[in-house]
Structure formats: C-alpha cells, structure tokens
C-alpha cells in the first residue's frame, strides 16, 4: 500500500517463553486515526512498545513510508517521527513544564559531545507556543508538572509531540484514570490530530472512546489481529464479539 505511513509485516515477539505477538501485519494510513483495542495481554502494548523502540521484535519487518527501518531505541522512533504518549504518563512530575517539553531534546547554546548549556529563553518561549497550539491554558511554563491535572499532563505530552513535528502519534491508554471532563478533552486532542496532518494510534479499553474519535478500528486478541475495519462498517457489538 503506497499511502501507508507505517507498515508492519509478520511481527513476532516472545517474552520468556510467552508468544506475545504471533505474526502481526498492519498498515497505518497517512492522516488516519486508528483505534487499537483488545483485552489485557492481547498484544496491544507489545506492538506499541516495538513501534516506539522500548522493545525490539524477534521477527518481522517495520516499514516507515515504504522504507524498512530498525527501531532499537526510543530515540530511533522519535527520529522517524513516531512519538508515544504512555498511560503512566511520560512526564517527570518534579520538573517544570518547559523542562518536560524538551526532555532529551533540549535546545543548547553550544555543546561538546552532546552536552551543553541550555537555551532557557528558547525553551520558555517555545513551550508557551507549543502549549497554546493544542489549546491548553496554563499559567506559566515554569509550573511543575506535578501540579497539573491528569488531563493537563496528557495535553502537555501531546503539545510536546506536536512541537517536535511527529508524523505518527501513539497514545497508549491516555484516558486511564481521568475524569469524564478530562477524558473528553483528550479525545478532543485526538480529533485535532487529523487537522494538523498527524496520524494517530489511539489505544483504549473503552470502545466508546475509540468509536468517538477514530476512523478505523483494529482489534487484537491472543497476539493476533482479529478485526480490522473502518468505523462505519462495524459496530461496538461486533468488536466486542471478536475479543
């Protein structure tokens, strides 16, 4: 498929004897919002961890924009434009918003062997812009992330991914532990991805959330893809039945 931004072919992964992924193949089309659903242990997280460089596949192939790639580290994924927002929150609560936005990719005034003086002015002004771009209203980029609500934190994480011009944003159960109001905010973020030309992968236990903001739904069970349909061609009941 020529318009696939990411294709995975026949991915296998074993965890100390457990066959967690049994030959998963999937095409992710440019600009679509894909909902990935499945029970615990179905292999969703394993697939996502492989795409984001946390784990590597034992077998199989990953193509980004048609080219075979190797994703051995989180940094490799980021360099390919794949950004992941985790359920446990990818923010350091004891650090400020501005510092969190640039973790691992800090702008420096000059550097020697990758270590250098932070460009704090740039970090401040760019984080204000990045936060405003996702329609998040926060008083100051110097506030500690630990003081933000769960929804605001996910908003900052999404702002970070946007700021670094990611092409594919993977949201791993971003609505867990969030209030109803905050959840709808995060779902709003996911809907907003499309407008910005970002491809989204939205992982959730909650079928309603997926049907609320995705174009296509992929269901996984026991390490395999068991359903792959466009939202309008399927229903919550059908997805439930295959799980």
């Amino acid at each position: 498929m020529e318009d696939a931004i990411i294709s995975v072919r026949n991915l296998h992964k074993w965890y100390s004897g457990v066959h967690a992924l049994k030959g998963v193949s999937l095409d992710l089309k440019r600009g679509e919002a894909l909902g990935l659903v499945g029970d615990n242990g179905a292999g969703k997280s394993t697939l996502i961890n492989i795409l984001s460089g946390v784990h590597t596949a034992d077998e199989g192939e990953i193509l980004v924009e048609g080219r075979p790639v190797r994703i051995a580290r989180p940094r490799d994924a980021m360099n390919l434009g794949i950004e992941t927002i985790y359920q446990y929150n990818s923010m350091v609560p004891t650090m400020s918003i501005a510092r969190n936005l640039f973790i691992g990719r800090e702008p420096t005034l000059f550097s020697v062997f990758g270590v250098g003086i932070l460009d704090q002015k740039k970090m401040g002004s760019e984080s204000i812009k990045a936060i405003a771009n996702v329609d998040l209203h926060l008083r100051s980029p110097d506030a500690l992330v630990g003081e933000l609500s769960g929804g605001q934190r996910q908003g900052v994480a999404i702002a970070r991914a946007m700021h670094f011009k990611s092409k594919v944003m993977i949201l791993d159960e971003p609505t867990n532990h969030l209030s109803v109001k905050e959840t709808s905010k995060v779902i709003g973020f996911v809907r907003g991805l499309k407008a910005q030309g970002v491809t989204g992968v939205f992982i959730s236990h909650n079928m309603h959330h997926v049907f609320d903001c995705c174009d296509r739904v992929v269901a996984m069970a026991r390490g395999e893809v068991v359903l792959d349909k466009r939202i309008e061609e399927t229903s919550i009941d059908e997805v439930h039945n295959v799980l």
Binding site: S52, G53, V54, R73, P74, R75, M78, T84, Y86, Y88, N89, S90, M91, V92, P93, T94, M95, R99, F102, I103, G104, R105, E106, T108, S111, G114, V115, G116, I117, L118, Q120, H137, L138, R139, S140, A143, L144, E147
Partner: protein
C-alpha cells in the same frame, strides 16, 4: 508577590537556609561573639571543603535516584594510594592522576553492578564501603606511609586571601561547587539527571540514556570523595587509614538537610552545601557554647529529621497556594 512566595517555598534548600541563619545567630550570642570572629571562621572554612565536596557528589547522585555509602572509604583509599605511590618515587601529579583513576573505577563498579544487575545501590555501595576500607589498610601494609616533604601544599592547603581567611582547598571547593551547580541547573545533562531520578520510566521513554547518566553520577561522586580525602590528608600531613569513617552518613544528612529527596529528582548542589555548613557550625558552635560535645550527633540527627519534615510541610504549603489561571 504570591507567585514569589510560592516560588521560594518550592525551593528545596529553603528550610536548611533558614535553620542556618537561626543557628548562626544563636551560636553567636551563646558564644559571646567568638563564633563569628576571624579565627573561628577560618577554622570552619578550612575543614568545610573536605566534607562539602563529598556532600556535593552524594547530593548529585541522590538527585539521579541512587545512593553511595562507600564515599567515606573512598575518602581514605584515594590519598592512601597516592601516598604509597609517592613513597615509591612517583611524582605528585602522576600519583594524583592514579588516585583519581582508582576513584573513577570504584564509582564505575558501584554504578555498573547497581544498574546491570538491578541491585539497590544501597547494597552495592554498602559492600564497597567494606571493600574500599579494607583495601586502604591492605595497601598501607598496616603502617601509614610517610608523605614526602615536597608536596604542592601551596596549591591545596596554604592560607590565602584577605587576612589569610581561606585555605586553597576552599577555592577548589568553591570552583567545583559552582561548576557542578551550573551543570545541574543550566545544562541538558543536568536536565537528564533530574529526569532520571524524578521519574525513570518517563526519562527512558524520552530517549535519555539513563544508565549512562547514573553511571556518570556514580563516577563523579567517587572522584569528588577521593579528591576531598586527599585535601584532608594534605591538611593533616599524614594518610591515616581511618579517616572518613562515618562520613557517608554525614554526607547523606547534608544532602537531605539541604532538601534532596531520597526518592530522587529533587535537590540542589547549594542545598547539599548548606547542609554541610549546618553540620560544621553545629560541631563548632556546640563547643563554643560550652555544650557537652557528645550532643553533636544528637543535634545532627534531630536536624536531619526536622529539616525533612519542614521541607515536606513547605512543599505542601506551596502546592496549596493556587495561582490564577
């Protein structure tokens, strides 16, 4: 105004700083003005660099989320290695270099074992505490070697400055404190240290080489401790194998009094230094105030607990101050 108040309440070293000012005033009154006179300050400033450098290393390592109990033993081992080498005719600069390499290797082993075998650093470095102390005595052969006469004391221990106020060691200390403080607050590496200790999964998922960051902190901590030990040996003029005993816990106390969190992620170099100064002036001030010197450890213990409780309370207060928007 409210913003300013909140910002200051959030500073981890604030509790230590307030205690420091209070104690200085109390000791100055209780000692009838002896405490802040030039001779006494000179005495305090002469010893401060030795424990202060250790505290800086321990504080930075704690911010990265790890712990080092072997600093007191490394404090003794490094100058002992140097002394033995110099007795064999090795010139001072080479011996210094060799000593620092020994420290770096110990720090590397501490870090490597902790990270790759996923052992709590408390255990790894507790083991290293015994190993390094034992090596110190083995290397010395039971008899502390005599230091050669032509040591570069002018570079490390001589008194300098207005009224001969400081030893050279203080300038080393001030320089290293400034550099490490800037490293922590102004460089991307400092950002990585705080992120690694603050929330490891987030740091790792953002592509920070957390293992290497921690390893660097272990090595830095050991090297600072060894260097501090050398300063003490040059001041005393003899490499005793027993120096630095109990220093590891004093250093942790310094870091904690200065606001560093045992859980990692929170703390400053300035805080660690404030903690060290507090301990030093209590040591000194109790004597000048005619208090039985055996109360020293009581005071340190009380202060450690009190500072942590005060810090936790202030952080809670700061959080409770809601800002508009």
């Amino acid at each position: 105004m409210k913003r300013l108040f909140k910002t200051y309440l959030e500073k981890p070293e604030l509790a230590g700083l307030i205690l420091l000012v209070l104690l200085v005033v109390i000791f100055e009154i209780r000692s009838n003005g002896v405490f802040l006179n030039q001779d006494n300050l000179r005495g305090i400033l002469g010893i401060l660099p030795e424990t202060g450098l250790v505290a800086i290393g321990v504080t930075i390592l704690m911010i990265s989320g790890e712990f080092d109990l072997s600093v007191g033993s490394v404090f003794a081992l490094m100058p002992m290695c140097m002394a033995v080498l110099m007795v064999e005719g090795v010139p001072f600069p080479l011996a210094l270099l060799a000593g620092l390499v020994v420290c770096a290797v110990i720090g590397f082993i501490n870090g490597y074992v902790t990270i790759w075998f996923e052992i709590p650093s408390f255990i790894t470095t507790l083991g290293m505490l015994f190993i390094a102390r034992s090596l110190t005595i083995v290397v010395s052969g039971g008899f502390p070697p005599l230091l050669p006469a032509d040591l570069p004391n002018w570079l490390f221990t001589s008194f300098v400055g207005p009224g001969n106020m400081f030893r050279m060691s203080f300038l080393w200390f001030a320089g290293i404190a400034l550099l490490t403080s800037l490293m922590l607050s102004r460089t991307n590496f400092g950002n990585w240290i705080k992120a690694t200790g603050g929330f490891h999964p987030a740091a790792a998922s953002m592509g920070i080489p957390t293992a290497r960051v921690k390893l660097a902190c272990f090595v830095l901590c050991s090297m600072l401790s060894g260097f501090a030990g050398m300063l003490q040996v040059l001041r005393l003029g003899s490499p005793l194998p027993s120096i630095g005993e109990g220093l590891e816990l004093q250093a942790v106390a310094s870091a904690v009094i200065g606001g560093a969190s045992l859980a990692g992620g929170i703390g400053t170099v300035a805080g660690g230094i404030i903690g060290t100064i507090l301990i030093r002036i209590i040591d000194n001030g109790l004597v000048l105030s005619n208090v039985d010197a055996n109360w020293f450890k009581f005071a340190i213990g009380f202060l450690t607990i009190f500072a942590v409780v005060a810090n936790a309370w202030m952080r809670k207060r700061a959080k409770a101050i809601k800002m508009e928007g």
